[in-house]
Structures are given as structure tokens and as C-alpha cells.
Symmetry: C2
Subunit: 310 residues, 2 copies
């Protein structure tokens, strides 16, 4: 058993997607996180190594999303073995790109493959959410679900968990800029309003309806004009220096729509071609540079696959 090992990559994801706070997300082709799992006979889960952008994540298996998810799964299996876990963080911590979700998904997906799939994806998601909850301070699925299933995801309800996967239009591209500073999801949730006006809520669910209609009918313009968020974006934009300028640069360079990815600071822009997405990503990087921050950019279609064995 000691030699049985697997290496998995799991994609980053954009959650919220404008109006769909807490209920929408989609997976990216890049960046991805990787984990290497090796069954051990010590009967314990151990983190052997953390590399990449993981300098701040804990080696304590009860605090690391990857291992919390794994332990939750192994408890269900009544596993008599242990697992050595190596985490290769490529998705920035606190980037708003589903970093903690990706490590959690990679782990449970990997172990499931190693054990010849005792669980379905619908079962795996619960374990991954347990891992995610440790990092974000809340039990949500808008990164975990797109990361695990791939594609564009709607979380119709949490209780019971009801996840709908829709196929993204074939020419939909996403430009992402990740300014190099960290926003903790738990902190970004604290500043949200507890109550909102019915009027704003109506406007928000109008945009949600428009976005889903646009995605399912490949109406790119409709997708673009539905990426509006009057509730969360105005509050969280304050945490991102130069947000308006970055967004303006995306829109001026042809993005369909642009908003904050997850709790930020990453900003995503949807585009109707790869060429535009590249142009938009570069323009956002330039705008971020003007704020005094370094940044990384990514250009990707919607990842329809989810985790992969590598």
C-alpha cells in the first residue's frame, strides 16, 4: 500500500459571476492546484510538503482544506490506512479564485480515484465542502462545485444541496487579473449587508435570470449586460484599489461584462473570443500596475472537465 500514489490537478474557479452571489461559479483551465497523495500504513493523514504559493497554509491537517476534506472522506470510509499529502499551490491564497476549494477537491477526487471510485461526484462534494469551510469560514459550494464538476454551475439550493450544471457557450472566454494581495473570504463576508432592499433584490434576480438565459441560449450580449451586481460588488470593490479603473479598462477593451471573482481581489471579465480576452487581460494588468500592485493574468475558456489525473 505504501507505494500507491496519485497526482491530481484541480482548477481554479470564478464564483458569484456578477449577480449570482453564493449560487454561481465556473471552472477555469488555469490556474490549477495540484496535490500528490500516497497511501501510507501509519493510519494517519500527514502533510509532507507544501510548495508554490502555499507559504501561509498550515501543515496542521485539521486546518488545511486539503486534509480536512480528505479526513472527512476517510471517516466515511472507515479507512484503516493513512495518506501522505503533498500540496502544490499554484492558485493564490485569498485570490478569489477558489484556491482552498481546488486543494480540497483535488484531494478527495484523488483518493477516490486511488480507491477505484467508492464515491460518486455528488458524494465527494460534501467532503470537499467540509474542507472549504475551514478556509472560508462558511459552508458554500460556489467554488467547490465548479472545480469538481467542471463547467458553469448553479447552486439552486443548499438545503438540500441542489447543483445544476449548464454548458457554457462555445466561444465564451474569461480574462482574469489577480492583483498580488490577499483578501480573506471570511473578512470579505463580514462587510456584507445582512439586509437588503426588496427593490435591489428584484434587480439582482432579474440579472440572474438574464445571465442564465444568456448562457443557455448562447446570447453573448445578454450575458454581458447581465453581469451586474448592485449588492455585493459595491461593498467589496472598496477592498480592491483602483477597482473602477480596472473594470473600465476591461470594458473599454471589449469585455462583455466584468466583476469581482469570489471575494476578490481577482477580477474576471467575460469575452466572446480568445483574442478579446487576451487584450482585456493585458489591459487589466496595466490598470493594476498603475495602482502599485503586481498581478498575474489568466485567459481561459470555461473548463468543462474538472480535476484531472496528471
Amino acid at each position: 500500500m505504501g507505494n500507491k500514489s496519485i497526482k491530481i490537478s484541480a482548477p481554479g474557479s470564478v464564483s458569484n459571476v456578477g449577480p449570482g452571489f453564493d449560487i454561481m461559479g465556473f471552472a477555469l483551465d488555469s490556474p490549477v492546484d495540484e496535490v500528490v497523495l500516497r497511501l501510507n500504513s501509519k493510519g494517519k493523514v500527514v502533510i509532507t510538503k507544501i510548495t508554490g504559493d502555499g507559504g501561509k497554509i498550515p501543515y496542521d491537517v485539521k486546518k488545511n482544506t486539503a486534509t480536512v476534506a480528505l479526513i472527512s472522506m476517510m471517516k466515511k470510509l472507515n479507512a484503516g490506512f493513512g495518506v501522505d499529502v503533498e500540496v502544490r499551490k499554484k492558485i493564490g491564497l485569498g485570490s478569489g479564485l477558489g484556491s482552498s476549494a481546488a486543494s480540497a477537491v483535488a484531494s478527495v477526487y484523488g483518493l477516490n480515484e486511488l480507491l477505484d471510485q467508492p464515491f460518486t461526484k455528488d458524494e465527494l462534494i460534501e467532503f470537499a465542502m467540509d474542507g472549504e469551510a475551514v478556509a472560508s469560514g462558511s459552508y458554500h459550494a460556489d467554488n467547490v462545485a465548479p472545480c469538481l464538476y467542471g463547467g458553469f454551475i448553479i447552486i439552486k439550493s443548499y438545503n438540500p444541496l441542489d447543483i445544476i450544471r449548464i454548458k457554457a457557450p462555445s466561444d465564451l472566454w474569461c480574462a482574469v487579473v489577480h492583483p498580488q494581495f490577499e483578501i480573506k473570504t471570511s473578512e470579505a463576508r463580514k462587510i456584507l449587508p445582512k439586509e437588503i432592499s426588496l427593490k435591489k433584490a428584484i434587480s439582482q434576480w432579474g440579472n440572474v435570470a438574464g445571465l442564465v438565459a444568456g448562457l443557455t441560449t448562447s446570447n453573448y450580449k445578454l450575458i454581458g449586460r447581465s453581469i451586474k451586481d448592485e449588492i455585493i460588488e459595491p461593498v467589496r470593490a472598496k477592498l480592491i484599489k483602483g477597482y473602477d479603473q480596472i473594470k473600465n479598462s476591461a470594458m473599454e477593451n471589449g469585455a462583455l461584462g466584468c466583476s469581482i471573482s469570489g471575494s476578490g481581489p481577482s477580477i474576471f471579465a467575460l469575452c466572446d473570443s480568445q483574442i478579446t480576452a487576451v487584450k482585456v487581460a493585458r489591459s487589466m494588468r496595466t490598470a493594476v500596475t498603475k495602482t502599485g500592485h503586481h498581478s498575474k493574468i489568466y485567459v481561459s475558456q470555461v473548463n468543462e472537465v474538472g480535476p484531472r489525473i496528471i
Copy 2:
């Protein structure tokens, strides 16, 4: 000019459709309202006759939705003529089935046909909304738009007005029961909360997303489990005697989902076949009878046409 006349029918509609308060609606094949327009040379709009369920609607052209809409349109045309208007109300007043919208739409659609279409439907809707506003006390389009365009409508935004038409799945049927008492839209709006919790709003837009995804991908089960409304339905259900029993009877007889149509008291249930819809409609009528009210029932597909010349 005195002899130029036209007779139009315009469909009733179900608005809100569960989670889509103020942003969704669809047209029905029945009931319909009818108006007869006859150009006159008196230079004035006159209501010559009101029949059917219209005992309470005003002959005052500044208070009747049909004529307010017409006058709004004629003002834009700088019309030098007048119109005699006969209104045949078949959709109950205060039924929650878009009665005022139907009369307004029938009028502007009819005059537009009579004048060889000086306006597009996208222009007509504004006039119809002026008419609707007189009756409901608010400027909304969730009955007017489905009535005018036919089909299943999303009002993505009001400012600017952004209306999206989606084709309903071919086997979607709607059962409606209209208990014979009246709820004034303006009254039913007063009892609504001004503020709602972010948590409930998220749950609502999850269901909105599910409903649109279900409709655009013909996923009947998803449509059904998305007909949920935690915000408006609980408040307005109190205005409808026996609401829970009526809804239960629909669900027990195979409805996919069931909620209040518009501001009530009509209740609609979506079904995946005509046979089920008939059964559901009858069961709802029986449940209403037990509350001591008479009722009318309607079984219809989504009307994809809108107003018709008859």
C-alpha cells in the same frame, strides 16, 4: 374613418411565477380579454360599452387601463382622430391573471394594427405599461410583456427596460384556479416587506436561476423544484383562504410546482402534460370550494402568440 374598426383578444398571464417576483411572467391561452376599437371623428377617446366581468371598471377614460394606454399612444402619434372603445372583460378584475394588462395591450395592439403598424411591439409596451400603472399603482411589465409578446418573459431590468423572451418547453402546461374574490394589486403590494435578509435573497435568486435553466433546457423536474418563493408567497398566501390546502391538492395530483399568480387570488400550477394539468385544475377547484368560494379554472399551454385579431 368612422367605420374603421377592429376586434382584438389579448391573453391573461401568470406573473411572478414563484421566485421571479416582478421579473417573470407567461401568457395563457385562456382566459382572454377583448376590446373593439372603432375610429371616430369626434377627436376623443370614448368608452362606449363595458361587458363581462367589468362591472366595476370605470368608464372614465383617464382611469380605465384600456383607454389610458390608448391615449398615451395617441399622444405620441399626435392623432387627429378619436376612438370608440368597447371592453369585453373576460379576465376577472383583481384575479392576479393580468386583467388590466390584457385590456391595455389589446387596445394599443388593436390601434396599431388599425393604423398599419406605426409602432413596433417594443414601442407599444411603454403605452401598455402606462395603462397598467393606472390599475396597479405601479409601473411594472410582468403581465404586460407576456401578454404583448406571448411566451415566457423575463424582465431583466426596468431601467432601461430589457425584456427577454424564452420559448417554453413544449409539454409545459399550466393549471389555474381563480377563486371568485378580488385582491387589489395595490393592496397586495402594500403588505410586502421593504427589506429582506440577504440569506433569503440568495435562496430566491438560486431558484430564479434554476427556473430559467429548467425552462431553457426543458428540464421539467428542475422547473418544478424551482417554483419556490420564500419572500412574497408567505406574505400574500395569507390573503387567500385555504391557500396551503389548495397548493397541496395541486402537488398531490402531480403538479411540478405551484404558487400564487401575480398578487392573487389566482393560483397556478405547472404540469408536464395536459392530462395532469386538467386533473390538477379540478383538484384545486375542489379545494377552493371547501373554503366556501366559487372558482373558475383554466388549463393552458404557454401562449406563444400574444394578442390576436378576431
